[in-house]
Symmetry: C2
DNA sequence: CTGTTAGCGCCTTCAT
DNA sequence: ATGAAGGCGCTAACAG
């Protein structure tokens, strides 16, 4: 592992130079930056002019060393399963960077060491090197070892997805059940009576289980005929084509569903394929709704209705939870549940 | 903008504590870490044991302040156009994080201030605060103001995509022309004589122009009939459906192309739609090849052949270029051109 | 309201 | 091979 290296770099302005340029002491410059109300207005103006002129910004390392605040948040990048890619990765990351920046923080990305799946060593490194003030974890599972581990270290953290009952409830989540229930109501409004849910079964992925449960509950409430393929297609099945085969079986017979709620946009794509393979037409014979509202939706024909996630609100919520902890305010409560928005397009219009 | 905040945190081990625990002085611990050959083996072992026991890692801020090396690289996250999303964002970022980590560096994400598109102020902030040792820029255009700006600051940088002729040639790029030429050869091998290119025209996106040029050159060389819709569909066109309309026009008549090389996987999806709309079958009547090899490829029916980018090699190349500059080795040469791999699936098999 | 003093944790001379 | 100073740039305490 290569270690330290000399690093020639053009000298950057220091607080000392600003102080000299403004004819004040270093401390006054520091005050002008961190406690402006303590500095006389005219002095403040002079200092600020000098700062502007020299392009001065405090050295973040020096400041961090002195104050202990790194002004940096760590984000554990999810391991990207090519068969079931995280559809939000890009959009969510951008929202998170912006939310952090709005609070004066930077975002540091990290991952388990290549070839490894256990993120805990990487988490420990980051904490031990004091590189971050807090951590964001996404795609949190029910008994997530990462959550338990970070909780043990005492470092502020917040999760996208609910934590276990015995763990700190510093999470933001969308209401997956309500989202799918909304999809069901939308389809019922359009006159559909027989509706299917397409997506992996099982409890492995809490968000998917919640979508499925919301679907089941709402169809029951409305007295609709619900088709919930029990075997479920694990993510890999969709890739091998068996997911489509299963969906085709679902779409056969006179009592076939006239609408399908999919657990993700990629699953909705598989539904499109199955519908076509059965000689039916999406949007006319079978309505389809996806989940995530990825760019794919607009590129499909007909355009795919989908559930849009409030990515910016999620990101702000996570950063807010982290800031509260960093400031030492003991955050209490049950986490933050955000609602989604159904974007209706031609596939279910 | 909220500023500095107190930050209670469990005390972490310091070099002083390790020294005491190992019965040596601080410098010896430092040496054990940064110049192990200077420390007697048994002392080294004792120090390492103490480090292990206390979970000590040097405080990165202190080390950075002292040495000037931040051991952090900045990555300017591309502005995500929902109509033309960066299909590599997730996969490339992961590769970049891993490549940086392998060299002992972290990756810091940053973006233009929300509502802004000019990245230069954000770049300046990062540099002035001395938070990074180098920068990575992606999706570089021909006369990219970001490149010119960073070059002026003197901070090490490397780009994914070629820089202008007057600028430092610290770039890594794929051979877009050769990639499309390879697609043409593949299709010619399969017996296709009339081949079309689907993708936006114009010189705005250098990578797309290069793909188009490679297509034109190779079809000419092989004496094939090439269809290159000149008007080109700007990214937004695909979303509005006019892209598909244009492609449908292309697929009409007895002399229609029997194969289509697409400039991206999403464009290939539009080709699928157009082929079907014309009553043709992808893979039988019309072969299709995409670009990027996104997860979408495996989810389509038939599965989409596509050009796979060597993301890990690109990432390693970028990090390598940065390290060389950071070490002060004057990097010379013409940038690094990497070749792609055509993944053949049912759509062109 | 401004200036002085001290030290955050670490690494680089220099001396032993 | 190891130990003793000094200082990177900054800010929190206190002195004036």
């Amino acid at each position: 592992m290569p270690q330290g290296a000399p690093r020639p770099r053009r000298a950057a302005a220091t607080i000392e130079e600003v102080a000299r340029a403004a004819g004040v002491s270093r401390q006054t410059v520091s005050n002008a930056l961190n406690a402006p109300q303590r500095v006389r207005p005219d002095t403040l103006a002079r200092v600020r002019a000098a700062i502007e002129r020299l392009g001065y910004r405090p050295d973040q390392s020096a400041r961090a060393l002195r104050t202990g605040a790194r002004r940096t948040l760590g984000y554990l990048a999810p391991v990207d399963d090519p068969y079931d890619p995280n559809p939000l990765m890009a959009g969510f990351l951008e929202a998170l960077v912006d939310a952090a920046a709005a609070a004066g923080y930077r975002l540091l990305l990290f991952r388990p060491a290549p070839g490894t799946t256990d993120a805990r060593p990487a988490i420990d490194e980051l904490i031990a090197a004091r590189q971050v003030d807090g951590l964001v974890l996404a795609d949190v599972l029910r008994e997530d070892p990462r959550v338990a581990h970070v909780a043990r270290t005492g470092v502020p953290f917040a999760t996208f997805g609910r934590t276990g009952p015995g763990e700190p409830q510093h999470w933001v989540d969308i209401d997956n059940g309500a989202a799918t229930a909304g999809v069901v109501r939308h389809l019922a409004d359009r006159g559909h009576r027989r509706i299917a849910f397409a997506g992996p079964a099982g409890e492995a992925l809490p968000w998917m289980a919640a979508r499925r449960a919301g679907f089941a509950a709402e169809t029951a409430r409305l007295g609709l005929t619900a088709a919930l393929p029990g075997a479920g297609s694990p993510p890999a099945a969709a890739a091998s084509g068996s997911g489509v085969a299963q969906l085709r079986a679902l779409l056969q017979g006179p009592d076939r569903p006239t609408a399908v709620a999919a657990g993700s946009d990629l699953t909705a794509l598989a539904v499109y394929e199955a519908v076509r393979a059965e000689g039916l037409v999406v949007g006319r014979d079978v309505a389809v709704v996806g989940f995530h509202d990825t760019p794919l939706c607009r590129h499909l024909h007909p355009a795919l209705s989908s559930v849009r996630l409030p990515l910016r609100a999620i990101a702000s919520g996570l950063v807010g939870l982290l800031l509260a902890q960093i400031r030492g305010e003991s955050v209490r409560g049950e986490g933050l549940v955000l609602s989604t928005e159904l974007v209706v397009r031609a596939s279910s219009g």
